[in-house]
């Protein structure tokens, strides 16, 4: 039986087409994936992301523990509420998952991990937490809604009590805080996975239907995982399992910026990454823009003078009206490149992601 979020019945009522995603029965779209995509780029859309798992890390040595667990350095989170994107690595430097860590205070953090990897992550984290005496608590009691788009913050904040409204609108980019409403059990953050401004809201599952309905009444369009995928790909954001996995390191995944070698600290996977860096990183993740007509898709071969690579995520970009992709290619790969689509070689160009941010194309077509 696939898992269902607390909004599952509501999605059905709203006409969602449901698909399996990481073991969860989730909305793919509610009619038109492209219209949902445009709603987020131009106005405001919302996503049920309750399948993602919040994991609370608490204890005297929580900071010390996370500095060892994660490739990015939580010591960079100097102010309460700030969030950080990081990979969770294995000893070989392979990516177990990517996650967001929210900093409450030096003893309390919250991780948000992917649905499909949550059980694996929890086992990995719990096994390494014991020596630090920190508590690891999976928050299956929480639901999560992402509201994204240029008008998302204003439309969402208008629904909050006055004190919460001001606090929410004052949040800097990539920061969050507890809300006063619901006895402080709700949390709002200015984060997302679309390349647009917006909020992600975590709250007790029994309250999420009310929140969803109020957001809907405020004119925020329900959006499915289909639009979420085209939005994140336009924004140049990796999808775990597609663009990186245990078989690739962050250095081969366009994520070197998330690995904090300095200040010196021992973190899981460090020695493997340091060795790879010293030897020369053999592969890189690049953006591709298809010059010919067609649609780039995951696993299509990419042919370059430096050798072959593979598309890791590809789609039609509704904003650019062209096909775009992320591809893992040999480190020396450069234009011109070709992509083999059903036996035909089509021309593509290497571009630097993101393709689109805040509604604007960032690459020349």
């Amino acid at each position: 039986m696939p898992l269902e979020t607390p909004l599952h019945a509501r999605h059905r009522e709203l006409g969602a087409r449901l698909v399996d995603f990481g073991g969860w029965d989730m909305p793919l779209h509610y009619g038109s994936q492209i219209e949902e995509h445009h709603a987020v780029r131009r106005d405001a859309g919302m996503f049920d992301v309750s399948h993602m798992r919040a994991v609370d890390i608490a204890g005297e040595r929580a900071t010390e523990f996370l500095r060892q667990l994660l490739a990015n350095d939580v010591a960079r989170l100097s102010t309460p509420g700030k969030a950080l994107y990081s990979c969770l690595l294995n000893d070989a430097g392979g990516v177990l998952d990517d996650l967001i860590v929210y900093h409450h205070d030096a003893r309390n953090f919250r991780l948000v991990v992917n649905a499909g990897t949550a059980d694996k992550d929890l086992a990995w984290i719990a096994a390494r937490a014991a020596p630090f005496g920190v508590a690891v608590t999976a928050r299956g009691d929480l639901a999560m809604v992402a509201v994204q788009g240029p008008n998302a913050r204003q439309k969402t904040a208008a629904l909050l009590p006055a004190a919460d409204r001001d606090a929410a609108l004052a949040l800097p980019v990539f920061a969050g805080s507890a809300l006063g409403t619901l006895d402080g059990r709700a949390f709002i953050a200015r984060t997302g996975y679309t390349g647009e401004d917006g909020f992600e809201i975590m709250l007790p599952a029994e309250h999420v239907l009310d929140l969803w309905n109020r957001l809907l009444a405020a004119g925020i369009r329900p959006c499915g995982l289909g639009a979420r995928d085209t939005l994140r790909l336009e924004a140049g954001m990796n999808l775990y399992g597609n663009d990186m996995s245990e078989a690739s390191t962050p250095l081969e995944s366009g994520l070197a910026w998330t690995v904090a070698f300095e200040p010196p600290r021992e973190f899981i996977g460090r020695s493997a990454l340091a060795a790879q860096r010293a030897a020369g990183v053999p592969r890189k993740l690049v953006g591709l823009l298809l010059e010919d007509k067609g649609v780039l898709r995951a696993h299509q071969p990419v042919l370059t003078a430096a050798g072959a690579g593979e598309i890791t995520s590809g789609t039609y970009s509704p904003t650019l009206e062209r096909s775009i992709a992320l591809a893992r290619v040999p480190a020396g790969a450069a234009d011109p490149v070709e992509v083999d689509i059903r036996g035909k070689r089509l021309r593509a160009r290497i571009v630097r992601p993101p393709f689109v941010r805040n509604g604007k194309a960032l690459i020349s077509l």
Binding site: R17, L28, G226, K293, T315, Y316, P318
Partner: protein, 132 residues
């Protein structure tokens, strides 16, 4: 969910439709049910004119935002032409699947083979059967 199934057309279980033309050729497209299931269509690739196709042969591709889907030739024949308008406006398949969203035409087809395809009532019944 009810789909539009025009009475004058013939159908396949892989959701193509066939229209008989006065000159003996046939026009092929995908059904309203198929376009709805695929979602927003962003690319279509039809076979080249002159290509000989077998019944059931994958000969065209329709890509929605989420995936590429093969289109199978309902009949044996020779490709007479393809819908050039789909190059710039593939969404015609969504908005007018039985009209401006046609995919290709076939000539040298066996009239009896056309008759042997599903009629509208049979295709409708097939959709009912296979509905979730």
């Amino acid at each position: 969910m009810s789909s539009n199934v025009p009475a004058e057309l013939r159908y396949t279980k892989s959701h193509e439709w066939v229209r008989r033309n006065p000159d003996g050729s046939v026009t092929v497209g995908i059904t309203d049910h198929a376009q709805h299931a695929l979602g927003d269509i962003v690319f279509a690739e039809a076979p080249d004119a002159g290509r000989a196709v077998a019944a059931g042969e994958a000969c065209a591709v329709v890509e929605s935002v989420k995936a590429a889907s093969d289109v199978y030739s309902p009949l044996a024949g020779e490709v007479a032409g393809a819908n050039a308008a789909l190059g710039e406006t593939p969404e015609l398949i969504n908005t007018d699947p039985y009209g401006a969203g046609w995919l290709f035409t076939l000539k040298a087809v066996d009239a009896a083979a056309v008759d042997a395809l599903l009629d509208a009532a049979a295709y409708d019944a097939f959709l009912e059967e296979t509905a979730e």
